[in-house]
Amino acid sequence: MKIFNLNSGRMISLLLILSFSFVIGQEKERELTISVQPGAKECFYIEVHSGQTLDIDYQVIDGGQGELDLDFQLISPSRRLIVSETRKSDGTHRQTMDETGDYEACFDNSFSIYSAKSVFFEILIENDQDESKEIWGEFDIPDMLPEEMQDIAFKGIQDYLTKVRDNLVRTERFQNDLRALEARDRNVAEASFARVNWWSSVFILAVICSSTLQVFLVRSFFDEQSRIHGLWKRGHL
């Protein structure tokens, strides 16, 4: 599932996703939101079998001072670097893997000194499993009435339900991506708010301090008793 960038990319991605009407059903996806401290690197490992498709999407949603980027790396079990991205704020990677083993996905914030970054990521593994298991969940229903399954009407209803499920799964994905984007924008707005307050106070303080300092320095030019007057005499005055 693509995570869309701002505005122009968003429309294109939306169209692309909607056109994917043959999306059968996806395995259980794992999504987490973690906070990577400045100077730190967080790695996650996932076991993938050969032939399965690994789909990783990530989005930086909070970045302290407003720099919303991270380094990202995807390393295969044989320690081969599959993907390496520097200072990106979001990314999506989808590849069919040919090695069986534990793949490593790392979010690196070591280039940053002050800002902790929050990153939302989803890892999805698709395989050629039985379609009904994929979309409804990995469990078998105990003790079904076998006569029910013979009916054509039942099969028709089941197909409809599967279609509805497929659409709802896609709706959920959209929602998750939108939620991540909104969280990012909200965090940026709150950071701006804090910044405006902080720097305005600093500015007013600086203005008051420098004006007072100016007055005292000018006084010291002409005031023989002032302590700083001696400094001017010895200096360039």
């Binding site: 395995e27 259980k28 794992r30 987490l32 939101t33 973690i34 967080e42 790695c43 996650f44 490992y45 996932i46 076991e47 079998h49 399965q52 929050s118 890892i123 593994i125 409804w136 990995e138 469990f139 078998d140 229903i141 105990p142 003790d143 079904m144 009435l145 029910e148 399954m149 039942f154 209803i157 089941q158 339900l161 509805v164 499920r165 709802l168 709706t171 959920e172 929602q175 939108l178 939620r179 909104e182 969280a183 924008d185 909200r186 707005a189 709150e190 708010f193 405006v196 307050n197 305005s200 500015f203 007013i204 203005v207 008051i208 004006s211 100016q214 007055v215 006084r219 002409f222 005031d223």
Partner: protein, 211 residues
């Protein structure tokens, strides 16, 4: 028909794991609407320096799970065994923080723990296999039930989204207002300081009989 429980499936399915050091605290943020159930299925393995790998099961290790709600109040703080699940239900919408750390001193110093973790939210947290058995649902009933739960969760998320956007808009409007008022204040302060400077220096020079 096999009866597979979700936890039993953990060993079979592709699990996501990470490593934590002895005193390290790993935290995960979950932004969820209110009255939503969250379940965390985990398994902890200890690094064995003899085999240079991770022991398949380490029963002695305890995992401390701490969950904080958006108001920074602790809603769950419990020590769990090395393998199992923890659940909590949110009562306020917003960002909940789930922190995991091990307080066990039984293991070799400087070694690492491998933590398999799967956090599922809302309708994904429900164990439908057990539900079907408990309420004796047929397949059709179960499927419809799944769809109903899913739609309910999507609807809850949408309501929460509206509440978040309102907060976002309030913050933006407040920032915009503040920029204006701070600039006004800065201008006033500048003019006041300038006037004070002139007045002060004038009186100073007059006193010094330079003017």
């Amino acid at each position: 028909m096999l009866f597979l429980i979700l936890t039993g499936l953990f060993a079979v399915s592709n699990a996501l794991y990470f490593h934590i050091a002895e005193t390290e605290r790993k935290c995960f943020i979950e932004e969820i609407p209110d009255e939503t159930m969250v379940i965390g299925i985990y398994k902890v393995q200890l690094y064995d320096p003899r085999t240079r790998g991770f022991m398949p099961s380490s029963p002695g290790i305890g995992m401390h799970v701490e969950v904080k709600d958006p108001d920074d109040k602790v809603i769950l703080s419990k020590v769990y065994s090395s393998e199992g699940r923890f659940t909590f239900t949110s009562h306020t919408p917003g960002e909940h923080v789930i922190c995991l750390y091990s307080n066990s001193t039984k293991w070799f110093s400087g070694s690492q723990l491998r933590v398999h973790l799967d956090i599922q939210v809302g309708d994904h947290a429900v164990d439908y296999a057990a539900l079907a058995q408990k309420e004796k649902l047929t397949e059709l009933q179960l499927r419809v039930r799944q769809l109903l739960d899913q739609v309910e969760q999507i609807s809850k998320e949408q309501n929460y989204q509206r509440y978040r956007e309102e907060r976002f808009r309030q913050t933006s409007e407040s920032t915009s207002q503040r920029v204006f008022y701070w600039s006004l204040a800065q201008l006033l302060i500048l003019v006041t300081m300038g006037a004070w400077q002139m007045k002060h220096l004038k009186s100073f020079f007059q006193a010094k009989k330079l003017v």
